[in-house]
Amino acid sequence: MQAPETFETPAAERVNYLNAQYGLKSWLLTKDHKRIGLLYLGSISFFFLIGGLYAMFIRLELLTPQGDFLSSATYNKVFTQHGIIMVFFFLIPSIPATLGNFLVPLMIGAKDLAFPRINLLSWYIYLLGGVITIYALLAGGIDTGWTFYVPYSTTFSNSYVIATGAGIFISGFSSILTGLNFIVTIHTMRAPGMTWFRMPLFIWAHYATSLIMILGTPVIAITILLLAFERLAHVGIFDPANGGDPVLFQHLFWFYSHPAVYIMVLPGMGIISELIANFSRKNIFGYSFVAFSSLAIAVFGFLVWGHHMFVSGQSVYAGMVFSFLSFAVAIPSAVKVFNWTATLYKGSISYDTPMLYALGFIGLFTIGGMTGLFLATLGVNVHTTDTYFVVAHFHYVMVGGTLLAYLGGLHYWWPKITGRMYPEGWGRFSALVIFVGFNLTFLPQFIAGYLGMPRRYHAYPPEFQVFNVLSSAGASILGVGLLIPLVYLIWSMRYGKRAEANPWHLPGLEWRTPSPPPTENFLVTPLVTWEAYEFAPPEELRVIGMFKEDESLEDADAVINGKPL
């Protein structure tokens, strides 16, 4: 049995969740939410690479107006698969399953999530769904667009619709179980003193996201099942030959898929709230407004799905209602942007890598969000639907938004997760490369779309070529920019500078435990008596349960970090 840990145990020998047990079984059968977060990190990065490969093929093909190395049929598969992998296997799980899993218990002072085994199960379910989808891709792929519209997907497509549908259906359970775990944990396992309004905004964001996961995902589940049933029976409720309505599919599909985009962006917004407040050393402006705006987005997000169907044959009156509600849903997002900006004002801003990502998010998400308003306008939508304007809009919010937030959060919490710092110079450099590459990729697409270039076409009229060339050039820069962190983050796990418990000197509960944390998260159960962003001098922000009353800050930190006294 190991000697009990004291403040005299050097950091290098300290038992934490990474070295507590070794061996493949200890990882594959773990119940520790932190290890599960890392398992997800690995798998999600893998799917991101695959989705990125498909993106590369798209951008290569679109360099010239005519078809090059992809036939139109193959191109249909490439953009479909890019969408499916990125939406269902990267964006939706990314932040909640990696950072959320890791941080939710830490931030509220709990030892784990409410249901650790269900957490592990959710990872295996995600993998199973992923494996089945990859099988479908390798067996021949799917060409219906990630939106699976009927009657093409039920009746006319000769691709692997059911197999892909099965993969997505199964991975949806992973989403549901994650959301369920978060909701129950946040309601029942907060540490003493951790009231709802002392929780970090990251938690509020994940709570709201979990609500959407719970309420929306089952509807896409049944929709995929009904689609598969119809494809097998060669008859069904979406088939006009029986009196069915293809638009019913779209109602059911978008009832989930619109709130799904809030599943993608809300956790990102939660991260941004943390980054902005913490790197401005200032309490977030309007905490309650930001907290409630997350809930408002979750609720309102369910009321606007028809804005994907303005030209589908949906009634004009329904269109008007959905258009109005779509304007309304922008308001809570705008509230967040205003509050972040107000937080920055007169803050003590440090431009570390996470802050660069956060600032990038604010600008790019604002552009993406505002172009969403263009699309919500009925009249404009008639012209921009199914053009590159839409493509640019959603890439601005999902890549410029969610991906940037994900990278910012990954860097910010990297010392907590791994006990090592990433190299700051490389971090800032790649953040800038990504920012430049991203804008060069997608800004020209707004213009091309507005001028009429349709989406999902492998060949296009020559007048759009200049925008496509710019976009593909940007994509190569973006691709390089995204590979750099992959390299240095992995490098840092072995060779990075060892991080102390609270390298950024912040008040969050996750920083009040060693980096990396012990398996049970905290050395003693915390008693929370402070507000979420109540900044304090470093000596008041030390590891909970690990210092002597009269010990000096330097001595305590030296011991914690294994430095000589």
Binding site: L180, M189, L226, L232, V235, P526
Partner: protein, 245 residues
């Protein structure tokens, strides 16, 4: 700025990340309710499709509904309601620590659930015999009901009302199989979980202090019963009154 929380002597069922059994029970119950929310939304999609097409094709839906066996449907409804009672009594037995009763009521619930599934199988067989399985789901037995001529009282033939067409009737059966099939799958899972619970009950795991698994399986079981409470009138009782007209 920090303090420790005392931990009571732990019950063997207390999981390490919970402070006490009460917190664990609260979490388990809330977790099951959140899961039931997902089930409500899941079935809700099918209820939506049903409502839409029933309003579009009232005559066809009535005709198709009349072809279902009202006695079998009604018996199944009774079977499920009794099973809900036995499940509630199982929970009660666990709460008051009566192990033998707990086992008895779990067994009864399993038997009743299986009876429901057996009757459902009979109904499905009837549909198969009358060629009412939609589309080309069963190769070799495509949807091809025989329409009864006026005055023909053969129960295997489809008796059409008003402006019903065979294609619209097929729509009804598509929805019928989707909804009752999904419901049956949930029943099968429920029976499976009940068997697991039965094993642990027999091993003496549950008592007044700890019986949350019985409670939450009870929630699941009652939910599946509620789905049927709606399915029965919506599928079986649509057009009976029109037949007597």
């Amino acid at each position: 700025m920090a303090a420790a929380v005392e931990h009571e002597v732990s019950h063997p069922a207390l999981q390490h990340h919970f402070d006490n059994l009460e917190q664990q029970r609260e979490a388990g119950t809330l977790g099951m309710w959140v899961f039931l929310v997902t089930e409500i939304m899941f079935f809700g999609g099918m209820f939506l499709a049903y409502t839409l097409y029933r309003s579009k094709f009232p005559d066809a839906f009535a005709s198709a509904s009349n072809h279902l066996s009202l006695p079998l449907g009604a018996v199944n409804t009774v079977v499920l309601i009794v099973s809900s009672l036995t499940m509630a009594l199982a929970v009660y037995s666990a709460q008051v620590g009566k192990r033998r009763n707990l086992i008895l009521f779990l067994v009864l619930t399993i038997v009743l659930g299986s009876a429901f599934l057996g009757i459902k199988a009979v109904e499905y067989k009837d549909k198969y015999v009358d060629h009412l399985v939609p589309g080309k789901l069963l190769p070799g037995n495509a949807f091809s009901p025989v329409v009864a001529a006026h005055g023909d009282t053969d129960p295997h033939k489809l008796h059409m009302i008003g402006s019903a067409t065979v294609k619209q009737v097929e729509m009804f059966y598509w929805i019928y199989f989707a909804m009752t099939g999904m419901h049956a799958i949930h029943m099968i899972i429920g029976v499976g979980l009940l068997l697991v619970l039965l094993y642990f009950s027999w091993r003496g795991r549950y008592g007044p202090e700890y019986h949350n698994p019985v409670e939450i399986l009870g929630l699941y079981w009652h939910f599946v019963d509620i789905i049927w409470i709606f399915l029965f009138p919506l599928l079986y009782l649509l057009g009976r009154h029109l037949m007597h007209a």
